[in-house]
Symmetry: C2
Subunit: 301 residues, 2 copies
């Protein structure tokens, strides 16, 4: 990726999880020797060798705090990334955002075709739940069922997909800050929240011990999206590996259009600091989460 | 639906499950009072008031043989139907089969728009797993995890979606009977097999006691698809509620093109009889499955 990360702990963590998630997808997606080959090639095109892997990093960082085995955390990370990747494939379709470039590569419908892109997204969607319900993730069926529930409820119409719908309607609508916040909490925040929740489920953290983790997830989720809006306004398309400056021409209300560039940047920083504050009860085992909260608002892609 | 069913047991079973599945979707899909409303309306448009509900009937018929509570079987049936419905929404998209009519109503992308159709399909996909992983289906997390695994593995790239990919490639390819059989086993058979499997999971039927049920499911799955090919060739579009006679112009190899109308009809009947034969160890508790095996090859839609 060539992403320059000031923080060593975070840099190593990102490199490690990127390698592990690529390996996990590679193992889960052998190319069959029949006419399904192009479907699996399309899934691999989208899932392997791209993306920051923020969600798996978040999940595995929380899991590690509670002593979860690395392979289990990586598999669950692969599942949540499969959901993220499927949503990008469908989002990039001509009938949605109509994007040609993703992670510096042609989008799936450009490299293959639209029908293959629809099916590749659907197949990654199913793969996520096949992984989570399988015995490799955990021998404890309660953990498997809870992981599925957390991810399914965060990604459907009451979560991510609902947020995407609001986002589509947003073009040309005069959404206020409260509506944009709800939209972003659903579109991006729900899945980031699920990453933290799934780490806690794997770590068998009791319900009552998860509130500070949820508060952390809520704050970084919003900070992440404000940073995304700032990148859309000010980012470098080469670095981002995708088309930018799409919000303003679409007449879409964003944090930047509502708060201004400076206001949005201050708000993102404040949320990042607030997120770190929620980790006060933890020692250095939470350093990766702290570094991640800083990275999310400082990243250039 | 106005579907005339000769068999009383089957007729009552279909009417009952159709009412129950409609009710379950209605409860699961309240329309929110914000800009997500049209997404949920689109999900309801596709999920409520249409479809024969063959998969939920199959699932609940097996579940009933093993004393499963009706609400649990209906919820699991709602989940598998959500997968079936999402696959129809995506299949009907312009970039896939480009169909305007489904169950006698406009398809989702016609009644709403393409982007909403993509998201409505994705949301029903997630809903299926949210239902199965939730505690309403079963208080036993092992059952919940097994249900998710059965449905996810049957619907992804190694199952239904893989079959749909083969089906797309099939246009203009000179597939032989072996390849068409594999295609159909994936595209239709995998999900019908999952319906039977999920009924057995709910009924806590041990692995070694499921082989005759799996054999039954395999036979009716193939019989179902041969009957579909016959309907495409000979059926009434008004009754079917969708466009027919699409296979031959597309140059697609089907059971009918490979075996002829008479050969295909004989094969479907033979498979239906063979399916019934697998139920020989059961008494009248399996009568609904027997009636279903007959119905599948005799239906007019």
């Amino acid at each position: 990726m060539g992403l320059v990360i000031a923080d060593d702990l975070l840099g190593r963590g990102l490199q490690r999880i990127q390698r592990e998630i690529d390996q996990a997808f590679d193992l889960k997606l052998p190319v069959p020797d029949d006419s399904r080959a192009s479907l699996v090639e399309a899934m691999r095109h989208a899932a392997i060798g791209g993306g920051k892997r923020v969600r798996p990093l978040l999940l595995s960082a929380v899991a590690e705090m509670y002593g979860v085995s690395r392979p289990a955390a990586v598999l669950a990370g692969c599942a949540i990334e499969a959901i993220h990747v499927y949503s990008l494939i469908h989002d990039d379709l001509p009938c949605m955002d109509d994007d040609d470039l993703r992670h510096g590569k042609p989008t799936v419908h450009k490299a293959f075709d639209e029908a293959t892109a629809v099916l590749a997204g659907d197949s990654l969607h199913a793969l996520a739940f096949e992984i989570l319900a399988g015995r490799q993730v955990s021998t404890d069926p309660f953990i498997r069922a809870e992981l599925v529930y957390a991810l399914a409820s965060a990604s459907g119409h009451t979560g991510m997909a609902g947020g995407q719908m609001m986002d589509m309607v947003a073009e040309g609508e005069a959404f206020d800050l409260r509506t944009v916040t709800l939209l972003q909490q659903l579109k991006t925040g729900a899945l980031l929240g699920a990453a933290v929740e799934m780490g806690a489920i794997l770590g068998k953290v009791p319900e009552e011990g998860r509130s500070h983790l949820r508060a952390y997830a809520r704050d970084i989720g919003l900070a992440f999206q404000i940073a995304d809006d700032l990148l859309d306004e000010e980012g470098d398309e080469m670095l981002a590996g995708k088309a930018l400056r799409k919000d303003a021409p679409a007449g879409k209300a964003t944090f930047v259009s509502l708060m201004g560039v400076d206001g949005a940047r201050q708000q993102a920083q404040a949320l990042s600091q607030q997120a770190i504050g929620h980790l006060a009860s933890h020692g250095k085992e939470a350093d990766l989460l702290r570094a991640l909260a800083k990275f999310i608002v400082e990243r250039d892609r």
